[in-house]
Structures are given as C-alpha cells and as structure tokens.
Amino acid sequence: MTVLDMIGALAAQGAQMFLVMLAAPLLTGYVRLVKARLQRRRGPSPLQPYRDLLRLLRKEVVLPDTSSWLFRAAPYVMFSTTWVAAALVPTFATDLLFSWSGDLIAIVALLGTARFLQALAGLDVGTSFGGLGSSREMMFASLAEPALLMLVFTVALIAGTTQLSAVAEQLQLPQVGLRISLALALIGFIIVAIAENARIPVDNPATHLELTMVHEAMVLEYSGRHLALVEWAAALKLLMYASLIACVFFPWGLAPAGSGMASYGIGVAAWAGKMAVAGTALAFFETVIAKMRVFRVPGFLGIALMLGLLGTLLLFVSRGL
Amino acid sequence: MSALAVLLVPLGFAALLALLPGYRISARLNVLASFIALAFAVDLVIHRPVAGRYLMVDDLNVVFILLNTFVGFTTSAFSASYIRHELETGRLTASYLRFYHAMFQLMLFGINLALLANNIGLMWVAVELATLTTVMMVGIYRTHVALAAAWKYFILGSVGIALALFGTILVYLAARPVVGEGMDAMVWTTLITHAQDFDPNLLNIAFIFLLLGYGTKVGLAPMHAWLPDAHAEGPTPISAVLSGLLLNVALYALLRFKMLLAANPLAIAPGPLMIGLGLLSLIFAAFMLYRRRDIKRLFAYSSIEHMGIIVFAFGMAGPLGNFAGLLQMTMHSLTKSAIFFSVGHIAQVKGTQQIGEMGGLTETHPLLGWGLVAGVAAIAGLPPFGVFTSEFLIVSSTFARAPVLAVLVVFGLLLSFGALLLRLTSVAFGAVRGPIGPVKASYIPLFAHLALVLTAGIWLPPPVVAWFQHVAVQLG
C-alpha cells in the first residue's frame, strides 16, 4: 500500500472513531425528543446532551469519603472500552484499517469489562443504592451475556466468521436466503440490547426512584467530569448496539473497503438513516410498553437465550440436510 | 362378504340401539347383534376371502376375530342380565342405557375393523374408535371416581394413539421409496412382501414409537396408569371387554408391525425392548397385587401382569415363544373375562367391590364361589387350564435360551400366584361377610368361558395349532 493509501485508510478509520464518539449523544437526544413528542410534550432539543456533557465537564468533582482509586479510575476505563467497542463496529464502511480486530466476541468482552467496572464502582461507594444497582445489573448480565454469546454463535454459524466486517459482507450475499434463524437472532439481539442499555422494560433511564433504578443506582454518586464520561459511555453503548444490529442484520449501504468518497458518503447517509430508524423504534417501543418488575427480567432475558438456542438448533437442521 | 358383514352388523345395530328407548329390547338386540356377528365370523373362518385393499383375513387375525365376536357375544349376554340389577339399584338410568348399548356395538365394530384392516392407517383409526367408545363407557356412572378414571384413560390413551400414529407415518416413510407413493404404501399385505428392502433405521425408530404408543394401550408398565382405574370404575361388562378384547387388539396391532420388522434382516430385533417392558410389567404388577383392596383393581393388575408375560414371550421370539404368546393371548382373554363376569356377580350380591367386605362365597353361593376359584386357578396358571400350557411353554423355552430371564419370569409368576391365592382364600373361603342375596344375572357366560379354557388346556384343536405355528414363524 502506498503512503497515500495508508493515510487514506487511517483517515477513514479515524473518521469512524470520531464519528461514533460525537454522534452518540445525538442519538440519545433524538430518542428523548421522539419519546417526548409521542407523549405530547415539546421535549428538549436533540443537542441537549452535548450541552449537558459540556456543563458537567466544567463542574467540580465531588468524591465520597468512602470511595477509593477505583471510583476515580472507573469512568475513564468504562469510557475507553466502550468507545473502542463502538469504534470497531462498521458504521459506514467495512474492512477499515483496524477491522481485523472488530470481532464479535472481542466486542462482547470489551462491554463485559465496562460493565464489570461499573458494578465495582457502584459497590465501591459503600451505600445501599450502589450495592442494589450493582447486584441487579449483575443478575441481568448473568443471563444477558450467555444469550448474547448464543446469538453471536447463531450469526457466526450463518456467516462463517465472527469478524464483523466479514459478517456484514457475507450476509449481503443472496445465498443467505430467507432465514428464520436470522429473524430469531434479530429479536434476541433486540431483547439483549434493551436489557444492556437499561431501557424500558428492563430499567427506566429517566428515573431516580430506588425501586426502579438499576443503571442509575450504580452511578448515583458520580459528579463533574466523571459523570460526563459515564453518561457518554452509556450513550456510546446505545449507539454501539444500534450500529451492531444495523451492521449484522441490515448491512445494505455499507461501503466496501477502499472505495471512494462517494460511496463513503452513501455509507454515512445510510448509517444515519438506520440510526434514526432505530432511535424512533426504540422511542416508540419505550412509550408503548410498561416497565417490568425486576424478578420478571430474567424471564425476559431467558427468551433471548431460548431464541438463540432455537436459532442454532434450526441452523443445525438445515445444515444437516 | 362375511368380512363386510362382521363390520356392518355391529355398526348398523349401534345406530339402531342409539334410537331405541326401551332397555329390555336394546339389551336383547345387543345380544342378537353380537350373535349375528359371531355367526359371520364363523363363516369367515370356514370360507376365507381373498385379501382386499382395505380388509383381509389371514392366519393371525382369524382366531382373534372369532375370539372377539365370541367374547362380545358372551359379554353382551352377561351384560343383558347384569344391567337389570344396575337399573334396580339406581346406578344407571334408562337413558344412559341407550348410550351404553350403542357404544357397546360401536366398540365391537371398531375392534372388528382393527382386526380385519389391511391398511395400517385404517387399523389405527379403528383402534382409536374402540378406545374412544370405551372411554365413554368407563365414565358412564358419572361419579367422581368414574370421571377421574375416564379422564385419565382418555388422556393417556390419546397420547398413546398419537405416538402410534407417528410410528405409522414413519413406517409409511420407510415404505414409500420401495413401494411408491399413495395407498399402496399403507396396505399391509404389500408392506410385508417388500419389508426386507425398507430402510432399517427408519423401521427401528418407527417401532419404538409404535411400541410406546400401542404399548400404552396394552397397559405395559410404565404406561399402565390408566388401566386399574378404568377397570375398577367402569361397569363390569366393560372391564371384561377392556381386559379381554381391547388389550388384545392393541397387542395385535403391535404384532403386525413386529412382523414387518422381522421380515427385514437389518432391522434391530425388537426383542430386548419387549423383554424389558414385559418383565417390568410382570414384576411390577405382581408386587402391586399384594396391596389391592378392591377386587376389580386386583384383577386389573393381573391383566397388566399377563400382558407383560405375553409381550415377554413375543420379545423372546422364536417359534416356541411366539406360539406361546399367541396362545396366552387367547387364553387370557377368555379367562379374564370369565373372572370379571364372576366379579360382577359378586359385586352385585355384596354391593361393594372391597375385598375386605366379602367372604365365604363357596358357602353362600356355591356355584359362584367355585366358579371364582376355578377362574383364579386358571389365571394363576394352574393345570389343567389353558393358561398353564402357554406359561409352561414360555418358561421352558426361555430357560433353554436365557435361564436368568426364566428365573425372573418364574419369580413374577410365583409372586402373583401368592397374591391371588391370598385374596382368593379370603373371598371364597373363610367367614361369611357381606349380604347374601341371590344372584340375579346368568352364570352361563362365566362357565362357558371356563369350559373353553379347560378344554384348551387339555386339547387344542389342530387348525388353531396350525395357524398359530404359521404365524409364530412369520413373527420371527
């Protein structure tokens, strides 16, 4: 590869990384706006999360006496792992410079690290809210992660690989045909995404009532730039899941590697459109459905696990024929 | 022609009996219908028709058709006199009797159709029809326990039937590449001639389903849960029919498929599975006999035990084993129905089915008491009754090949013998317990059956022996 190509590839990969980081708060703001409109309110501007982040970055950090270095370090690690995970998911182009590391299982591991640290930070403070949030989060995670892995397995069986760029390219081919396993995996992914991002019906992102908090309970003690990083990480996680579902199940519009600016532009536009659709669908779903009681969430996640298992089994049927 | 008549007579009379209001007429018509069917069955034995696409008569089913129509005839005769008493005591009302007689004939139709069917699908439908009619008759008393028994019978029977249908579909699947699509692949006479070319794996799996499905209806442990309740809570003629006819029909269906498997050299021998189930039923039922306090339940478990012995015999296979199994099927049918006739008399006299409340029968009702003794002696396998012949054949042929299994069989037989003897002495001999009114129903069916069993124990008619031997070879 010539130096120019190298610079171009680096630029494309860097563009994706920054695009993802900058677009995450916009998606969260958009979802909030659509939800508000659906509830017949005017709602805040979609740029409001940016303003919140800027405000928080400028504020003073207040640390609890009982916290340790973990409490201070956790937001940075959470943000960076989530950012890396989000940056590895192909958004507008496949086969970018670092796409060889964009492996589904690696992404699951990165997210797992972030969640682990968040739970530890919640425990670190020593209050009961933190412990409550952490324990609930871990209960959900103990089901969500196997379900996610099972779904990854299903998709990987169809595509023949776990590397996301290759998956996206494989699933665009016409040989894939009409697959019920893919449909089941899509539903499973959506369920896991909802659970992991602390959305209704699993957790209410707008609440601060102790009976209903999960995610909010863990980050209750954060302030200032720490809180900014935590919120940004949460927004990145939502964007990452939406991008992931779009990349795996609706891979049309992704620009192949090395093509020109025009196809990159189409890719960006397609991705923006998919994110908008995802945001609208999420807002709609959250408005229509009610929050589940905490002890029913394992059943909800169990459905995702079952769907993954069933999708795999059905794949074995069609493979064995 | 006779084959059709054997089918249409019960069907037609069922329709007629459903419409007639008077129970006396319908009871007599019931007997008449069964007698006509018996006459046609005898004709079938003498003039065997050519096998058609739907019906056929061969060495295996000719005996059972005759047996079925005969037991149906004697049971209807018993029922005619028994039902009157039930009406008097108020256990049944006149409107239910219409239902009862119609269902009786419909059930005979179903069993005849199952025996005569040349099409495995048709056979399945007929067995299901027979099951449904007996379910409705078991629940006819409409008491709590009767309904519970009928519901359990219905659910377990339906599950068994469904599994059997699945097995039938698999057999069709195995036959299709060889015989071609369509009706031909379900005609039994066609299937048996081509069976050696079927896919053996598919046949194996099919047989497992069929064994579980039809085996539920035969009453093999562990699928036997419906049997004691259904026998105990239905009217006595129905208990006689269940034990004597329905169990046999289900086993007959199983035998048809065993013949298919035997014709295919690569298919796994179903022997070990059948031996296992048979032994399990035998020993389990033998143990259960000891704690029974209801006389009908006692003999219901005895039916399970005998079905276990029969399935064991067929599992051992070989000409001797199969012959013994066929003989035992016939003898058990006659003996068990005879016993249930006597139990019916006893229950009517004593007004209860609890063993603890009846006693000293040979003193108060000598004919009935000694009839019961003879029946129990027969079913326990004492000489000179026919059951002894078949059990002896089974034990001796098993001993020659697998002594350990023979020991187990003998153990089970002795166990059940002990239990039956224990109960028998308390009912037939000993202190007189319970009311001692006269017996209203007729003794003829009971003694007719016992006479037949006794004769068979001493002398089996040569044609029957020839048929059984021929079928035993075909069973593999």
Binding site: M306, L310 | W124, L132, V159, Y172
Partner: protein, 220 residues
C-alpha cells in the same frame, strides 16, 4: 444452499416450534388459547405451502380443516367454555418455567439428533418437517405432563396433534384417508373433551386435576 421453497417451509416449521415453546410458559388461559390458535394457523400455512410445493391438492383440504376447526372453531369454543367455567381469571402456577423451557430445548435437540440421520433417503423438505414435527410432538407431551389445569392439558394435546399432522403432510403422498381421519378423530376427541370438561365442572367446581386426584379410587 437451498431454494426458496425449502426456506419458507423451514421458516414455517421453525415458527411452529417457536410457538410451541411460547405455549409452555403461558399462565393465563385466554393467552394460552390465543397461542393455540396461532399454532393451528401456522400449521395450516405450513400444510398449504407443502400442498403448493408438492402439487398435492388434497393437502389444501387438510389445511382448510386445520384452519377452520383448530384455528377458529375450537379456540372460540374453548374460550366460551373457559368463560362459563369461570376460570379465566386464574393464574396457573406453571411448574418452573426455566426448567421446562430448558427441557423443551433438550427435546428439540434430541428429536433433531434422532430423526435427521434416520431419514437420510428422503427429500430435504420432508426430512426437516419430520424432525421439527417430532419436536412439536414432544413439546406437546412436555406440556401435558407439566400442567395441572385440564384446559392446559387439552392445549398440550392439541399441539401434539398439530405436530403429527405436520409429520403426516411432510410424508409425501400419504393418502387422504389418514388425513381426513386424523382431522375427524380430533373433532371427535374434542367433543368428548368438551363433554368431560363440563361434567368435571358439574362434579367438582374446578378444572384442577389435582382436585380430581383426591377422588382416585386407591392411592397408587
């Protein structure tokens, strides 16, 4: 890999298995009856698709029977019955949903493992229909075993029946005799079930079969 015909029949059979699983964790009777109707609807669609792919017009009749009776008439009748029995507000304690679902998945895997190698000589559509039909049958059995309410057991039995009809249509060229008779016997069976359900209500004021157990003639 496979053509559209296979994909669609695979999808319908897979959906049937999915709906069977969904039936396992329903604890309200009206929801259960709705899922039962959906099950029969999927069966009718699957049978109709088979009829179209294999050009077997008699299967359309089976599909129509499944649709008319099992998807429409029987759920309607069951709903009315449940309402009249007054049990539509009950929540049935479903025995260990998680364990039941896992058992169901194990049964599906088992039936696939057993049936696929055995049917090697048959064409792909029939093969996967038989394998998935067996899983539907086994899940129906599982449902009958784990439920105590008589209506739920009947629902389990109906789904078992649907599985068998699926297997029968998957076996190409099976004569109409069997199909009609299967449908016919389901009808009769339902009538009998109906009679029993009402009689049980008359006698016991409940459709809970554990209550029936008290009236079992003899323990064991």
């Amino acid at each position: 890999m496979h053509g559209l015909a296979f994909d669609i029949s695979h999808m319908l059979a897979g959906l049937l298995v999915l709906v069977s699983l969904a039936m396992l964790y329903q604890d309200r009777l009206f929801a259960l009856i709705n899922v039962l109707a959906l099950h029969a609807l999927l069966l009718a669609a699957s049978v109709a698709w088979q009829a179209w792919v294999h050009d077997a017009p008699q299967l359309y009749i089976t599909a129509a029977i499944a649709l008319a009776f099992k998807a429409i008439a029987i759920p309607m009748a069951l709903r009315r019955m449940v309402f009249r029995l007054g049990i539509h507000r009950q929540i049935e304690t479903v025995v260990g949903t998680g364990l039941t679902m896992l058992a169901a998945i194990v049964l599906i895997a088992l039936s696939i493992k057993v049936m696929l190698p055995v049917t090697a000589g048959v064409d792909p559509v029939a093969r996967e229909d038989i394998a998935l039909a067996l899983s539907v049958v086994l899940i129906g059995l599982l449902m009958m075993v784990t439920r105590r309410n008589a209506v739920s057991q009947v629902a389990g039995f109906m789904s078992l029946d649907n599985g068998i009809v699926l297997a029968a249509t998957g076996a190409q060229g099976m004569p109409l005799v069997v199909e009609l008779s299967v449908a016919f016997s389901v009808l009769i069976a339902f009538i009998v079930i109906g009679i029993f359900l009402f009689r049980i209500r008359e006698r016991f004021d409940t459709v809970d079969l554990q209550a029936l157990d008290r009236f079992r003639g003899e323990k064991l």
